[in-house]
Subunit: 334 residues, 2 copies
């Protein structure tokens, strides 16, 4: 029996969808316990709406909530009894707790992961790593997507090692192809960081480094792990998200212009639905903060119960595939 | 009568499409001359395929070609008689020549712009600035998209001023909304560069700085000028391009799965066509290298004659709207 800690009050749809997501997971997985952190009365109210195994539920009463616009370190001090802080305190001190799931402020989740859970020995910087679907129905990871703003080449080397371990361990990809995000494929291209990182990655026998990748290749299916500093990775992830959302809006706009197109759109409804599901990568969980001593999972801010349940499943997958142990081994090999 | 210099041997479809593009422009605009740089015999051969005003054509015989994978500064020394080097030499020395259009190596065009044409007085760094269509049928400029790999806050301030001048002068946008590309909208977010730049832009009364922008907002229509260093801007531009291309591929894949969807797609053909045209921003020309003493325009590598003609029109627009003079005035105001 493992325990997973949930920040019940993080996210646009908190606490309702978060608590419901926990219940879904409890129903799906019989060998887990969920520890909800947040206002106990409200959590109990939501729990009472459904059947749930009360012997596998714990609640940490925490009345405060950290908002999206707060500076994490300041908020931690000002709100020691916030759902997020208390959840991370529990994760740190409870040996049975294997991981955290939360949909609140990304900055706060990352900062808590760094400060309260801490880095794995040998890892210079943990990194945020979401997974996206590619055109050939495979997956691609971007690491880092926002945890490290001013990164150094050694950090990016660790991102490459962790990303490889993630894809091979959890997704079963043999020898994941690792690429460095850059402005061109040529070795001499890029900024100081990318040039130095290229050299470092080229020398590393433990990863399958295939060279530089231009941003337009992200969804091509030619790479499994894309290494970037947190700023660029964030731009790539959000730029891709935004383009997808807006291109679908533009298609909608074009459809509305003519009746014949509207008819066509009805016939094609299934295609758009399938695509939306595919691109909604939150459906398959959240982005993991890799490199901490325990599993820290950041779900999308607008997570529904389904998303939270998927995130909990993701934590279980990572736990069962021994991702953290695998990363430690790789780093020890040097 | 103004003259525009064309690198007839730059681009995937050179020299044929480039020369044809020049002819198209000569037919469309009666008050311009085109100077083609490249292998004279081949250029004459292609010119002979159509009717063209031979009194408005000049040819600079240049037998060498700079390839995409060459390091620009090395290539300039090794190939002084390349079409690109000779084109820029002509632009520099010929007072009647107002601008350059080329679809060859981006790095070579940028480097030639820097070294052979030079910066406008007061501009710390020229920047590459493409224009994209937004969901509300307006335009957004990304500046810089690849000319400056390791930029400083003062460079980004100049990008903001130049981008504003471009949108107001050439596109007629009153008081363009300038945003700084960042990982979040909050003032305290980002890397060292973005934090310092935020402060600098906030203090600048001459631009309409509206704050930070997340990458997903690029096509939203809420901003006209997005300021970034060349690395980040490149990731944003190419990430957006790639997402659009791949999302259309994914839709195609979903359509193929069922016959009813195929029927729907036939009815919707017009919508996809309109969208493709809209997103193919090359149709409306290329990306301008702003901040040089003359107009330097980089057309997309796969430019057709139509694209080249559009790029030439873009050069004329910039010339007629006195973009360079306007930038100089803004910078002088300090």
């Amino acid at each position: 029996m493992v325990k997973i800690v949930l920040d019940a009050f993080g996210g646009d749809n908190a606490p309702h969808e978060i608590v419901k997501g926990g219940v879904l997971a409890l129903q799906k997985f019989k060998d887990i316990k969920i520890i909800f952190a947040g206002d106990e009365d409200k959590i109990k109210e939501i729990l009472a709406e459904s059947e749930y195994p009360f012997d596998r539920v714990e609640i940490i009463d925490a009345k405060e909530v950290i908002e999206n616009n707060e500076i994490p370190t300041v908020a931690f001090k000002a709100k020691p009894n916030s759902s997020l802080v208390r959840a991370f305190d529990e994760l740190r001190t409870n040996d049975e707790a294997i991981g955290f799931v939360g949909a609140g402020s990304t900055g706060a989740v990352l900062t808590a992961g760094f400060l309260k859970i801490g880095r794995l020995t040998g890892i210079s910087r943990p990194a945020l790593c979401p997974i996206l679907p590619t055109v050939n129905n495979k997956h691609v990871a971007i690491i880092d997507c926002g945890a490290n703003m001013d990164a150094k080449p050694i950090n990016l080397l660790h991102f490459a090692i962790m990303g490889s371990a993630y894809l091979s361990t959890v997704y079963g990809v043999k020898s994941p192809r690792v690429a460095l995000l850059n402005v061109g494929v040529e070795e001499y291209k890029g900024n100081e960081l990318s040039k130095e990182t290229y050299e470092l990655l080229s020398k590393q026998p433990r990863i399958n480094f295939v060279g530089n990748m231009e941003a337009r290749e992200l969804l091509s299916g030619n790479y499994e792990v894309v290494v970037a500093d947190g700023f660029n990775g964030n731009v790539l992830l959000k730029g891709t998200e935004g383009a997808v959302v807006n291109i679908l809006k533009m298609i909608k706009g074009e459809i509305k212009k003519k009746n014949i197109r509207k008819v066509g759109a009805v016939f094609m409804k299934g295609a758009f639905k399938a695509l939306k599901k595919k691109m909604n990568y939150e459906e398959s969980g959240g982005a993991v903060l890799i490199g901490c001593k325990k599993i820290v999972l950041k779900s999308h801010g607008n997570s529904t119960a389904k998303n939270i349940c998927a995130s909990i499943e993701q934590v279980l997958d990572m736990h069962q595939s021994k991702l953290i142990e695998k990363i430690s081994q790789e780093i020890e090999k040097g």
